[in-house]
């Protein structure tokens, strides 16, 4: 029996639509679940007091500092490297074997599992370079991890700047580098910053790399060579060792809110950037 195409279409749309709704429902479930349990615990007091008794009671203040410092250091290192790479790829070369190699390397680096970055950071920064478990080791390892995100996003942003802009600049006698500095970068800036923001987001979410390279000290760090922990690590330790479910939920809520803020910022910046382009 042959089913008329009209009905197979209805069936197909129903199944595909159901799959999509299911996916979105999972997202909403996770957000609601964590926020519902965590928000009541989250308070200014929780954010700005130090943990006591290994995190069983008290707040997450030192962890908050770690969560700001590690991604910050990662970005300070990775952003200039990543943006320079994308400027070079788009503005200074044509497609060649070398650009293909750079792109392939970037893609592979993006696919490397975080546990490998953790192992590498542990052996290279922590052990061989003698930085110990510290903000420095953690930040540098995270910088390696987020480099591909920054390269890809800013490459797209720079590529999206219309050719005509560059031609006008060249015709006015500007050099290639002047054109990049005065015309291309300012126009691509929102897109480039989006890449940086996404890099911050990935650093905040990461757990494996941070545990292996920054350790898990609960003290307020006083130098970049002190150990620290981020919210993701703190949450993992609290939940896994069953230290305090309440504080685990509070930390999870803070973590989710941080991730939401960062990613929504990136989304709206990109959106405005694209709207402006069109």
């Amino acid at each position: 029996m042959r089913i008329p195409p009209k009905y197979t279409q209805i069936a197909a749309i129903t199944i595909l639509g159901a799959a999509t709704v299911f996916t979105v429902a999972i997202l909403i479930f996770i957000l609601v679940f964590v926020l519902e349990k965590g928000l009541p615990i989250l308070s200014l007091n929780f954010l700005f007091t130090s943990p006591a008794d290994m995190g069983r009671s008290g707040g997450i203040f030192p962890i908050l500092i770690g969560t700001v410092l590690l991604p910050l250091l990662a970005i300070i290192v990775a952003a200039p490297l990543g943006i320079a790479t994308s400027v070079y790829l788009v503005e200074f070369t044509n497609e060649s074997r070398i650009t293909r190699l750079i792109r392939f390397g970037t893609d592979c680096l993006a696919g490397v599992p975080s546990i490998i970055f953790g192992l590498f950071g542990f052996i290279f920064f922590v052990t061989i370079l003698g930085m110990g478990w510290s903000i420095m080791s953690g930040g540098l390892s995270l910088a390696f991890m987020i480099l591909p995100t920054i390269i890809r996003t800013s490459e797209e942003a720079i590529r999206a700047v219309p050719k005509a802009y560059r031609e006008v600049s060249f015709s006015l006698g500007a050099s290639r580098w002047q054109t990049v500095r005065k015309v291309v970068i300012p126009n691509a800036l929102p897109g480039v910053v989006t890449g940086v923001v996404l890099g911050i987001g990935r650093s905040i979410e990461e757990t494996a790399v941070v545990i292996f390279t920054a350790g898990s000290s609960l003290l307020i760090p006083t130098s970049v060579f002190d150990s620290t922990r981020t919210m993701a690590v703190h949450f993992y330790i609290l939940a896994r060792e069953g230290l305090s479910m309440e504080n685990a939920y509070g930390t999870a809520a803070a973590l989710i809110i941080a991730v939401l803020i960062v990613n929504l910022t990136a989304y709206f910046m990109m959106h405005r950037f694209i709207a402006k382009r069109n």
Binding site: V24, G111, V112, R176, A208, F235, I256
Partner: protein, 285 residues
């Protein structure tokens, strides 16, 4: 920058441009330096194919972990790939652009949720359900596969949507003009034209599934054994490294780095396949 001059800037950038590939190289070198000597000392065959993992007795067979990683990955793909591709087709072909522009970022937000949160949801929500429905410990291969399936969905959806949207509109118009329904056009034409991109999305999803660590540690139970049923507790390659690294010394630590070498090679192979597939798409376009 003025000091450098035009040529100097270009030269500087051409050096910095190698940062990502140097980072990859540096990582490979140091993981291999730590892991490769062990592989040759202990024997690659014994390391990969023996099921005897007793570090205190000098036995380092990672076969149970390889099997666990494989089955968890396969399970994740069976769950995540069909759902992801279905979602991608629906969003790219059957809903208005404005709807897609809202839902696609929402799904991409799934990728931004930290893996420890996924793991936690797996422990407190999913594992009890599995225990009640099917028996067993709950923290199991199945729980790992489901959580990873959800985690890889954004990767699959996002790349598949991009490759579906890259199929020229004229292809679709031609098919519709011949009297095909929208669904016929999608499954006979659009998905075929976007095939390499969709395949790439699946391969990248596989890479993510094999490489994921924290969520897997939390939900799979971590017993070192070859799984005979999806309800059993298993330990993946990544979980094994993360769980034992903190106290491993000597041969034991080298064995964990050797496990890292194995993972690294698998991931590079998967990424190479995916990047070839994606490049094919570009040529078609």
């Amino acid at each position: 920058m003025k000091l450098l001059g035009e040529k100097g800037v270009e030269r500087l950038l051409s050096v910095v441009a190698f940062s990502a590939i140097s980072a990859l190289g540096l990582i490979a070198v140091f993981i291999f330096i730590e892991g490769l000597p062990f592989l040759f000392k202990y024997g690659i065959k014994d390391f990969l194919l023996s099921s005897d993992w007793r570090p205190d007795a000098g036995k380092f067979g990672i076969y149970p972990m390889i099997a666990a990683s494989f089955w968890v990955m396969l399970g994740a793909m069976l769950i995540g790939a069909p759902l992801g591709i279905a979602g991608a087709i629906f969003l790219a072909e059957f809903v208005p652009k404005t709807v897609m522009n809202i839902i696609k970022p929402a799904i991409e937000l799934l990728a931004a949720i930290p893996s420890v949160i996924y793991g936690f949801i797996g422990v407190v929500v999913l594992a009890p359900v599995i225990r009640d429905l099917f028996g067993g410990p709950g923290l199991s291969l199945l729980a790992g596969a489901i959580i990873l399936g959800i985690m890889i969905m954004p990767t699959v959806i996002s790349i598949s949507i991009d490759s579906l949207l890259a199929v020229p509109v004229s292809f679709r118009e031609g098919s519709l003009a011949l009297g095909a329904t929208k669904w016929q056009t999608v499954h006979m034409l659009t998905t075929k034209a976007a095939k390499s991109g969709i395949v790439a999305s699946i391969i990248l999803g596989m890479g993510r599934a094999i490489g994921e660590t924290m969520a897997v540690i939390m939900v799979t139970g971590n017993s070192v054994m070859i799984p005979h049923s999806p309800l059993e507790s298993v330990r993946t390659l990544t979980a094994n490294i993360a769980l034992e690294m903190s106290y491993a010394i000597g041969m034991h630590r080298e064995a964990l780095f050797a496990t890292g070498v194995v993972l690294f090679i698998v991931i590079i192979i998967l990424n190479s396949i995916a990047s070839v597939a994606i490049r094919k798409k570009v040529i078609v376009k």
